[in-house]
Structures are given as C-alpha cells and as structure tokens.
C-alpha cells in the first residue's frame, strides 16, 4: 500500500529534488509546488514530480502569501501529506497552511518512512534526549523535512506544469532587503569538519582554527554559544539539534564540552576526534579518539605536523 497524494513544497530547488526523489517511492502521486515564474518551473522540472505547480512572485512577493491558493489546491484531494524543506520561510508557510487544513505541523523531521499506507515521521524532542515517532491523526499532515535525509536519485523530468489557481494575499509590506554577506559554508555536505566550542578564548583565535582547516581541507563549524552568544561565527555554522546536522567522514571537536543538544548535530559523523582540557567533559564519551589537553598547544602542533 502506498500514500495516495503527497505535495512537496520548497523555496529551494536542490531540496525539492531531494524530497521528490525520496517520496516518489512512497506515494501514488507527487505534486511539487515552487515559487517563481515559468522559467523557475522549467528549472524545477528535473525534480521528477508527477505534476508541478508554480506560484509567480512579484518583486516583493513572499511565498507565504500563497497559503490560501495552495490550501485550495490541496483540499481537492480530500487527504494528503504536505512536505516542505526546512527553511525559515517554509516553516512560516507550513504553519499558515496547517491552520487552513486544520492540522499541526511537524518540523525538522529527520526520518520519513511509509508503513501500511501511512507516513511515520521521526524528530528529536527534549533537546535531543529522545526521538519521537509520530503520525497524523487528521486527513492532512504538514511537515518540514531536514536536508540530507534521502539519497539523491534522478527521475525523468516533469512535463505536467501549470501555474497555481488563485491570487496571493497582499501580505506584509517589505521595505528593505539585503543579502547576507557571510561566507557560505556547506557543512551538511562537508566530508571533513572542525567543530569549535567554548574552549576557544577569543575571536582572533579562529585564525588558528582556520589555518588547521586549510591544512586538512575541512569546513569550520561550532557549538551554539560560539555563534549565538559570542557571534564569532555565523549562525548557519552551528551544529546541533536546533542547528545544522552534519555527517562528515571525520570531525575534530576543539574545546567542545559535548551537551546532548550539540551531540545530536554531530553524531552521524563516521569518526569523532575530540580535544578538550576537561577530562570529565561528556564529549569524551562520544568520541572515537580523544586528547585531554589544551587546544592552544595541540592545534598549532597539528598545523606544523600536517603541513
């Protein structure tokens, strides 16, 4: 038995491909919904959904303004799973759509499986202390899915492409927008990661970490306080249940204590190596190889030996 109808809605075409590829095997019919004009739709056709609807946006248009027309489209089915990528905008639209479909939203879902014609959603609760498996008790279910949970597949391109019916709502007035200038990292896809924690004493000392990253070809991520409290690295760089979840070949944690919240973001790494001054730090229960020592001695020595 499979799910009758699944909608995949994404404001990111890479995520759209992954989600469509992943759910195609579980559903009779997959309808993709994207934001932009016909050119965006043509680009999105590679996702391989059975049907593709596009929501044209004007210069100030926000995908959230399409909650009404999208709900009308979904309601034609009488029952469906509506799956989003896990972006901030998608979470906003998902919540609005949930109200129109009279259902709640499950976010940051990290595993989706099909069992006896129903979708089972898995997500972390209590800051990573437990995983909850849930299913919707209503005809409609709405969820946002974390990136990287499906293996990429290539499907034949969608040919049934149409604009969505109905007009967007007026929405909130945008008076300015600026692109973020932070250097992009792709921690999710990184094969090698350095993970900086509160053991780092000053922002300037990131230079030493970056030097090591360059020597071994790694991306630099961090624990939550380094990004949020100290603001030494962009928020997009912090790993944890509420941040990025990585799965590199190896990760070296430097001055990371190892709270449950953070471990949840790095424990899919094949090998975990940890350096921390505190012998009792919980990170040492979660690593393959650990050095109890000072990162300010060990990192410069590593740079020298590996250069």
């Amino acid at each position: 038995m499979s799910i009758q109808s699944v909608f995949v809605i994404s404001d990111d075409l890479g995520a759209l491909n992954e989600l469509c590829g992943g759910v195609k095997a579980m559903a009779d019919k997959v309808t993709a919904i994207v934001f932009g004009g016909r050119d965006t739709a043509d680009e999105a056709a590679a996702c391989g959904a059975d049907k593709l609807l596009y929501c044209p946006l004007d210069e100030n248009g926000a995908p959230e303004n399409y909650a009404g027309p999208i709900a009308e489209e979904i309601k034609k089915t009488g029952g469906a799973a509506v799956l989003f990528n896990n972006s901030i905008r998608s979470r906003c639209l998902a919540g609005m759509l949930g109200v129109l479909l009279d259902t709640c939203v499950l976010t940051s879902v990290n595993e989706l499986t099909e069992q006896d014609g129903e979708l089972i959603y898995r997500r972390m609760v209590y800051g990573g202390t437990a995983q909850r498996h849930e299913r919707f008790a209503k005809p409609y279910g709405v969820a946002t899915l974390s990136g990287g949970i499906f293996e990429p597949v290539t499907l034949p391109a969608t040919t049934d492409i149409a604009p969505i019916e109905g007009a967007p709502a007026a929405g909130i007035k945008r008076i300015a927008r600026t692109e973020k200038k932070e250097g992009g990292t792709n921690l999710v896809a990184a094969k090698r990661v350095l993970d900086v924690g509160r053991g780092l004493a000053a922002q300037e000392d990131l230079e030493m970490i970056r030097a090591l990253a360059k020597v071994i070809g790694a991306e630099v991520g961090c624990s939550r306080p380094v990004a949020e409290n100290n603001k030494w690295l962009p928020k997009a760089n912090y790993m944890g249940i509420t941040g990025v979840q990585v799965k590199p070949d190896f990760i070296i944690t430097l001055g990371v204590s190892g709270q449950v919240q953070h471990i949840g973001g790095i424990n899919k790494s094949k090998v975990i190596i940890s350096v921390n001054k505190d012998k009792a730090a919980p990170i040492f229960k979660n690593c393959d190889f650990g050095l109890v020592g000072d990162i300010y001695k060990i990192v410069p020595a590593l740079i020298e030996k590996l250069s």
């Binding site: 609005m96 800051g127 849930e134 909130i172 190896f250």
Partner: protein, 254 residues
C-alpha cells in the same frame, strides 16, 4: 503599546534520565521557562520600555507546570506586569495546532493587545510553529525568526527578519504575532528587586483551553541508540599525545 509574551513551562531536559529500555524518566525533572521564550520575554520588556507600554505574560499548560508559585514568580521577575494562565490537565499540548488554539482562545478573551511575541520554539518540542499558527488562527500578520523590533509610529512596527541568505525589513501593521529569533537579544538575569516585586504582581487563571483534539498520534519516544564510539582517550598535550593523534588521523581519516 500593549504587549503579550507567550511562554511555555517545560521540563528541564538536563534533568531527564534515560532508562535501560531507552524510555525517558521525567519524574525528577523540574519545571523551567523554555530557553527560547526568555528571548521573547526580554524583547517584550525592551519594547514595553521603548513605548511606555504594558506587558502581559501568557502561558498554557497542565496544572503540574503552572500551579507552582515559584515558576509564576520566575516569569513575573522578567518584565511582565501580570501573568495570565490557561490551565488544562486534560490535554498534553504536544502539537502545535492544539497549543495555538488554546493561545488564540486566550488572546480572544484578553481582547485588547497590539503585539504578541513568542520565542523561536519551545525548548522541549521545538516545533517553531505555535506563534505562526496562533496568528493565522486569529487572522493576524505573522513573521518568524525576527531579529529586531522597533516602534514605527501609530499602529506600526519595523521588524527585521533574518532568513538563510538575506535580511528583510518589514513594516508590520498591528496587531500582529511575531516569533523572535534566539539571536535577537541576550536575556537579562532578573535583579533582586524584580524578584521581590514578582510575588506581588497579579496572576489570573483564564479557565480551560478551547476544545481542540490532538492532531498527532505518538507511536514511540525513545532515547537515540547509543553509538558505539571507541573512546580511545589519551591524557596530555605534549609531543607524544599530538603524534598519537597525527597517526590516528593519517591511518583513519586523511
């Protein structure tokens, strides 16, 4: 400006223990204000000060979470003038729409407000949807991941929202519901005089939650399987220890 800040009282996750069968034991966990709701309380306090306004805290939950005077005082020591509660032991409020319906019902009862602030997500379930769904139920403008709020004249706020790759500045017509990012501020620690005053502030119980069924069925809740890590630990940061690490890296990783 009349500000309402929603906050959830949650079990302290650091005091949850995992049993042998990977099930959770919450019996020893004390109640605390959700970590991300502290940012909403701080934003409310700052906005109330900037506009000469008032601030009400609103919480929905079961009696075990909300009956204790200690937690009520904790909320009230962080800026609100008063606290309103919806106490309902018949629902577990573990889905976003059920909680949003209870909050929307309470907001209708309260009636008069300009802005409702929520945290980024509750620190137990972290669905990040309750603020959005509450606003949508009330037909109000909603924004998530708000990183700055400034008064902008009569019935308007200038709101900064930070997305993955861009920062938007929006002009929001009030009333509205905003979920603030945990980046928006660093919550202040209540001063002794605030703690002393908290016990004298009014607390009103609004009655039971608006009727709403659960939208989800929970099939299981288990701690993640412990990954077998080798835990090969060496003490020291001298030449020998670093060399051991280099050898490990060369053999297994590089």
């Amino acid at each position: 400006m009349k500000i309402i800040v929603c906050c959830k009282i949650v079990p302290n996750e650091e005091e949850i223990t995992v049993q042998g069968d990977r099930k959770l034991d919450l019996s020893a966990a004390s109640w605390k204000i959700g970590q991300y709701d502290l940012n909403a309380l701080e934003s409310g306090k700052q906005l109330a000060a900037a506009t000469g306004g008032t601030m009400t805290a609103l919480s929905v939950g079961g009696p075990s979470a909300l009956d204790a005077s200690k937690i009520r005082k904790d909320v009230l020591s962080r800026g609100p003038d008063d606290l309103k509660l919806v106490i309902d032991g018949t629902r577990d409020f573990s889905d976003s729409l059920q909680t949003a319906k209870a909050l929307a019902g309470a907001l209708k009862t309260i009636g008069d407000y300009d802005v409702v602030l929520c945290g980024m997500g509750s620190s137990d379930l972290y669905l990040q949807e309750v603020g959005i769904q509450t606003g949508a139920l009330l037909g109000l403008p909603v924004l998530n991941n708000v990183t700055d709020i400034q008064p902008a004249g009569d019935g308007l706020l200038r709101v900064e929202r930070t997305l993955e790759n861009e920062v938007e500045v929006m002009e929001v017509t009030l009333p509205a519901v905003l979920s603030v990012s945990s980046e928006i501020n660093i919550p202040s620690v209540p001063a002794m005089r605030e703690i002393m005053k908290a016990g004298k502030k009014p607390v009103e119980v609004l009655g039971e939650a608006d009727g709403a069924d659960a939208n989800l069925t929970t099939l299981s809740e288990l701690a993640p399987e412990q990954q077998d890590r080798r835990q090969h630990i060496i003490e020291g940061d001298g030449e020998e220890a670093v060399e051991a690490l280099v050898q490990f890296l060369k053999k297994e990783c590089l």
